[in-house]
C-alpha cells in the first residue's frame, strides 16, 4: 500500500505542476487578445481620461509578469478577483454556477455510466449477435449527431410537440429535488446520448479483446456460464481502459456542457463562460478555464489511481 500512497502523492504533485502550466497558458492566451479591456468596458464614447483611470484601477499598466503573479497569488488564496463586467466577487459567482454544472453532470453520469457499462457487457456477452449489432448502430448514430442537434430534436419532440418536459432547465433556488430532476431531464438525456456510446463501445472492446485469452478459455472449460465468464473473468481485467474512458467522459460532462447549457438556458459554468466571453469579462473567463482544467486533471488522476488499485499485479507486488 505504501507505493500506492506514494504514487498518489506523485501524481498529485504532477497535477499541481500541470495546473501551473495551464494557468500560464490561460494568462498568456488572454494577453494575446487584441484590443484594450478598459476601452471595451467603457465603450466607444469614453474619454481618454476615464479609460486611463480605469486602466490604472485595474492594474493594466503593470508589466505582464507582475499582473500574472498578482493573479496567481490571489487564486492560491481563493480570491479570483472581481468580475470586470459587474464588479461581483468571482469566487461566489463560480460557487453558485459550479453547483448547477455539477448537478447536471452528476445527473447525466448517474444514468450514463451504469447504462453504458451494462450495455457494453451485454454487447460483449452476445458478441456479433443481432443485439450487439443493433446496439452498435444505435450508439454510433447517437455519437454521430452533434449535441446541439440532439438537444433541439429533443426540445422539439418532448417540449414543443408534446409538452412533457420544460424547454428551460433553470430550476431557480426554491425547487425540490424532484422538480430539479424533472426540469433538467432534457439536458441530462442529451448528455447521456452523447457520452454513453463512447463508454459503451470501449467497455465492449475492452472485454472482447480479452476473450481470446487462455484464462477465458479456462473459465469456459470449467463449465462456467457465459455471463459468469464475462462478469467474473473478463470484466475485472478490462477495468483499466473502462475506468479511463469513464473518467474522460465525466470530465467532458463538466467541461463540455457549454452548448447544452446554452440551448437549455441552464445557468451553469459553461453558460457563465460563454456570457463572459461575450462581455469580454476576462477575469471570469480565466477563472472558468482554471476550474475546468482542475476538474480534468483531478478526474484523470482518479482514473490512474483506480486503474492501479484494480490490478493485483500492481497492487500486490512481490510475494
Amino acid at each position: 500500500m505504501i507505493h500506492l500512497t506514494r504514487m498518489i502523492l506523485q501524481r498529485l504533485a504532477l497535477g499541481v505542476l500541470t495546473l501551473f502550466v495551464v494557468s500560464v497558458v490561460i494568462f498568456g492566451a488572454v494577453e494575446l487578445l487584441p484590443g484594450d479591456i478598459a476601452q471595451e468596458i467603457l465603450g466607444q464614447s469614453a474619454t481618454e481620461q476615464t479609460v486611463a483611470a480605469l486602466r490604472e484601477e485595474l492594474g493594466l499598466n503593470d508589466p505582464a509578469h507582475v499582473r500574472y503573479l498578482n493573479w496567481l497569488g490571489g487564486v492560491l488564496s481563493g480570491d479570483f478577483g472581481r468580475s470586470l463586467a459587474n464588479g461581483r466577487e468571482i469566487s461566489s459567482l463560480l460557487a453558485s454556477r459550479f453547483g448547477y454544472t455539477l448537478f447536471l453532470a452528476a445527473y447525466a453520469a448517474a444514468i450514463a455510466v451504469p447504462l453504458a457499462i451494462t450495455l457494453g457487457v451485454l454487447a460483449a456477452l452476445y458478441c456479433n449477435s443481432i443485439f450487439d449489432r443493433l446496439i452498435n448502430i444505435l450508439s454510433l448514430s447517437a455519437i454521430s449527431f452533434p449535441e446541439f442537434f440532439v438537444a433541439y430534436i429533443l426540445l422539439y419532440l418532448l417540449s414543443a410537440e408534446h409538452a412533457i418536459f420544460p424547454s428551460i432547465a433553470d430550476y431557480g433556488s426554491q425547487a425540490s429535488l424532484g422538480e430539479m430532476l424533472y426540469r433538467t431531464f432534457l439536458p441530462a438525456i442529451t448528455l447521456v446520448l452523447v457520452i454513453t456510446a463512447h463508454m459503451m463501445r470501449m467497455t465492449r472492446a475492452a472485454i472482447v479483446n480479452l476473450l481470446a485469452q487462455p484464462y477465458i478459455e479456462m473459465a469456459r472449460l470449467k463449465g462456467l456460464s457465459p455471463a459468469r465468464v464475462i462478469l467474473r473473468h473478463a470484466l475485472p481485467n478490462a477495468l483499466a481502459p473502462i475506468i479511463n474512458v469513464v473518467a474522460l467522459n465525466l470530465a467532458y460532462l463538466v467541461t463540455g456542457v457549454v452548448i447544452v447549457e446554452v440551448v437549455f438556458v441552464y445557468p451553469g459554468l459553461g453558460q457563465l463562460m460563454v456570457d463572459s466571453v461575450a462581455t469580454r469579462d476576462i477575469t471570469v473567463v480565466q477563472a472558468c478555464c482554471l476550474v475546468f482544467a482542475s476538474i480534468y486533471i483531478l478526474l484523470n488522476l482518479t482514473a490512474d489511481v483506480l486503474s492501479i488499485a484494480t490490478n493485483p499485479r500492481l497492487l500486490h507486488r512481490g510475494r
Binding site: L211, A212, Q213, P214, Y215, E217, M218, A219, R220, L221, K222, G223, L224, S225, R228, R232, H233, P236, N237, T310, N311, P312, R313, H316, R317, G318, R319
Partner: protein, 579 residues
C-alpha cells in the same frame, strides 16, 4: 450442431468405455473458408486409463483433446462424429447441458498455467469456483479440499499459497496449482494439454511425478497431449500418434516404443540421431574469435545477474551455454553484444577488446557479431519481404546495391535451402516456423559475421524441423568457419552440436569443458541434476530416476529453489525469455 437435449445421465454400464470418440471431424476457419483440420479420429478410453496423444504442432492434438470435452475453439467447429462420455453423446447435448460436464466430470489442464490463471483473482478463488458453481461443495469445504490437494501436489505452504495471486507464484508451482484446480471436482477424465512443455527440465520432472502420482491414486482417466515422446512414455498406458489431423497408429506404450509400425512414427523415434563430432580445442597460442574475461553484469544495483563469466569461442567451433530460465544465459549474449554493458571484465574479438557499450562500437565490430533469436515472429518485421529482411544488413554493412545486392540475397536464400524464385518476395507470415528461422539465419549471415550467437533458436520448433535447422547451421558454420555460441536449455541439442559446453546456474558458470568431459560422468552436482532430469524414451525412466534420487536423498523439492528469478522480479522481466 444438434441442440436437442437428451436425459443427462444414462445408467453407466461397466463395460462401456468412459470416452468413446467416433469419426471426429473438425473444421477451422481461414478467411472465409472452412478447412477440415481433423479427419475422422476415433479414440477410446477406459476408466483410469491414460492415453498419450502425440504429434507435431498442427497435428490437431489440442483440438482433439478439447473436442473430448465437447468444446471447439473460436474459429473451429465440430462437423461430424460422436463424443460419447459415459454413454452420453456430448455433441448431441445443448451447450448448457455440456457445461454441466465441463470442469465437473471432464477437466482440462492447459499448457501455460501462467496464462490460464486469471491474473485478477487469487488462486483459491479460482480453485473453489468449479466445486461451488457445480454445486458440489460449500466454500469452506472447497477451501479445505484445496489445501489438501495443494499439499498432495507438493506445493509449498499449502495452507496459504492459495491466497496468493498468480503473479506471486512461480511457473512450476502454477502448473501444479492448475492441476489441483482441474481435480477440484474429482473429474473422471482430465485432458492434459502439454502441461510441462513450458517448464525447465528440473521443474518438469517434479511436476510430471506429482501429476502421475495423483492421477494414479485417484484413478482418474487422462488424455495426455504432448510433442515430447520421452514425456509421454512416462505418463501414458497407450500412445496414439497423429499427423495433420489424421490417425497414424496406436498401441500400448511399450509396444509402440519398441516396435513402431509406421514410417512417420519411426521418423519421430529417430529424431535425435543428429550429432556432430566434437572438434578439439585449438592450441593455446591461437587467438580465439571471442574471449570473454571475468564479466559481471546487473540490471539494477546490488543485484548481480552475471558474475565472473569467462570463456573462449575459437574459430569454427560451437560453445553451448546451458542452464535453466533465470540462470543468466541470455544475459551473457546481451553482455557480449553490448546491449547490457558489463560492470567489469571485458570481451575480446580476435584479441581486440570491444567497447563495452553497443553505441561505442564501430560498424565493423557490430557487423562481426550477429544474433539469431528464439522467436523469428517477433525478431523479424512481418511487414517486410524476405528480400528486405535479408537485403538490409547486406546494404548496411557491406554497401552492396542493385544487381550485386540481389545476387547476394539469392545466394543466401539458396544457402538456407529456400528457393529464391519462390520465396524472395514472400513476407514472414507466409512462412512456416522452420522457414522463418532459416530466414533469421540468413539475416545473420548476410552481415558476414565472425561470431554468431544463437539464442534458443530451435526451442519453439518441432523436433524434425529443429533438426533441419541444426543441420543447416552446422553446414554453414563449417563452410564459413564461424565461431558460435549456442544458448539453449535443451541438452539433446547440446549433444548434437556443441564442441565445448558451459553450464550456468544463478548467473555463474558452474562447469565448463569439452562436450565429452561435461556430458560423461563424473559430473558437477548441478550438471548431474540437469542431465538426469532430461526424460528418456524408456517408460521406466521416471520411476528409476525418482528412486535413485530418493536413495541419494535429493528428493522432490517444491520447485521454488529451481526457479531462481521470481516471475514478478522486474530484472527478470527485462531479460529476454529463456524458455
Amino acid at each position: 450442431m444438434p441442440t436437442l437435449e437428451k436425459p443427462e445421465l444414462q445408467t453407466p454400464a461397466q463395460d462401456t468405455p468412459l470416452l468413446r470418440i467416433r469419426n471426429l471431424t473438425i473444421e477451422a476457419q481461414t478467411g472465409d473458408q472452412w478447412i477440415q483440420i481433423v479427419h475422422g479420429i476415433d479414440l477410446d478410453l477406459d476408466r483410469g486409463e491414460i492415453v498419450g496423444l502425440i504429434g507435431e504442432s498442427g497435428a490437431g492434438k489440442s483440438t482433439v483433446g478439447l473436442a473430448a470435452m465437447g468444446f471447439a475453439r473460436q474459429g473451429c467447429r465440430i462437423t461430424q462424429g460422436t463424443v460419447e462420455f459415459d454413454g452420453t453423446d456430448l455433441l448431441a447435448l445443448s451447450e448448457a447441458a455440456r457445461r454441466a460436464y465441463r470442469g465437473k466430470r471432464i477437466a482440462y489442464v492447459a499448457q501455460s498455467a501462467a496464462a490460464s490463471f486469471n491474473p485478477a483473482h487469487r488462486l483459491i478463488d479460482q480453485y473453489v469456483e468449479g466445486p461451488l458453481r457445480h454445486g458440489l461443495q460449500s466454500r469452506r469445504e472447497a477451501e479445505f479440499s484445496a489445501k489438501a490437494l495443494f499439499a498432495r501436489l507438493r506445493l509449498p505452504e499449502p495452507d496459504v499459497i492459495g491466497f496468493r495471486y498468480p503473479h506471486q507464484v512461480s511457473g512450476g508451482q502454477l502448473q501444479r496449482a492448475i492441476t489441483a484446480m482441474a481435480m477440484s471436482c474429482k473429474p473422471e477424465l482430465i485432458v492434459f494439454d502439454e502441461p510441462t512443455t513450458a517448464l525447465d527440465v528440473t521443474t518438469q520432472i517434479e511436476v510430471l511425478t506429482t501429476i502421475r502420482d495423483v492421477v494414479r491414486d485417484l484413478g482418474t482417466a487422462a488424455i495426455y497431449i504432448t510433442h515430447d515422446l520421452a514425456v509421454v512414455a512416462q505418463m501414458a498406458d497407450r500412445i496414439k500418434v497423429l499427423l495433420r489431423g489424421e490417425h497414424v497408429e496406436e498401441a500400448p506404450t511399450r509396444e509402440m516404443l519398441a516396435n513402431p509400425q509406421e514410417d512417420y512414427t519411426k521418423s519421430l523415434w529417430a529424431v535425435r540421431s543428429f550429432q556432430t563430432d566434437a572438434k578439439a580445442a585449438p592450441p593455446d597460442h591461437v587467438v580465439p574469435t571471442i574471449r570473454v574475461e571475468d564479466i559481471s553484469a546487473s540490471y539494477r544495483p546490488g543485484q548481480m545477474v552475471l558474475e565472473d563469466i569467462s570463456f573462449c569461442v575459437p574459430k569454427g567451433q560451437t560453445v553451448a551455454i546451458v542452464g535453466e530460465s533465470g540462470s543468466g544465459k541470455s544475459t551473457v549474449a546481451r553482455a557480449i553484444t553490448g546491449l547490457l554493458p558489463p560492470l567489469s571484465g571485458r570481451v575480446l574479438l580476435d584479441g581486440e577488446p570491444l567497447p563495452p557499450r553497443l553505441k561505442d562500437r564501430s560498424k565493423d565490430q557490430l557487423r562481426r557479431i550477429q544474433m539469431i533469436y528464439q522467436m523469428p515472429d517477433t525478431a523479424l518485421n512481418p511487414k517486410q519481404t524476405i528480400r528486405d529482411v535479408v537485403g538490409r544488413p547486406i546494404r548496411f554493412y557491406r554497401g552492396l546495391t542493385g544487381k550485386a545486392l540481389d545476387d547476394e540475397v539469392r545466394a543466401l536464400l539458396s544457402a538456407i535451402e529456400l528457393e529464391p524464385d519462390v520465396y524472395l518476395d514472400r513476407r514472414m507470415p507466409q512462412l512456416s516456423g522452420g522457414q522463418k528461422q532459416r530466414v533469421g539465419i540468413a539475416r545473420a549471415l548476410a552481415a558476414e559475421p565472425d561470431f554468431l550467437i544463437c539464442d534458443e533458436i530451435t526451442s519453439a520448433l518441432d523436433q524434425l524441423v529443429a533438426e533441419g535447422i541444426l543441420r543447416l547451421l552446422d553446414r554453414v558454420q563449417s563452410d564459413l568457419g564461424l565461431a558460435c555460441a549456442f544458448i539453449t536449455h535443451d541438452l539433446a541439442t547440446v549433444r548434437a552440436i556443441a564442441d565445448h559446453v558451459l553450464v550456468m546456474q544463478k548467473g555463474r558458470i558452474v562447469e565448463q569443458g569439452p562436450k565429452a568431459d561435461v556430458l560423461t560422468p563424473p559430473h558437477h552436482e548441478y550438471t548431474e541434476l540437469l542431465l538426469s532430469s532430461v526424460p528418456e524414451m524408456d517408460p521406466d525412466w521416471l520411476d528409476r530416476t525418482i528412486a535413485e534420487r530418493e536413495e541419494r536423498g535429493i528428493g522432490i523439492s517444491d520447485g521454488s529453489a529451481a526457479e531462481a528469478a521470481a516471475p514478478d522480479d522486474p530484472a527478470a522481466a527485462l531479460q529476454p525469455s529463456d524458455s
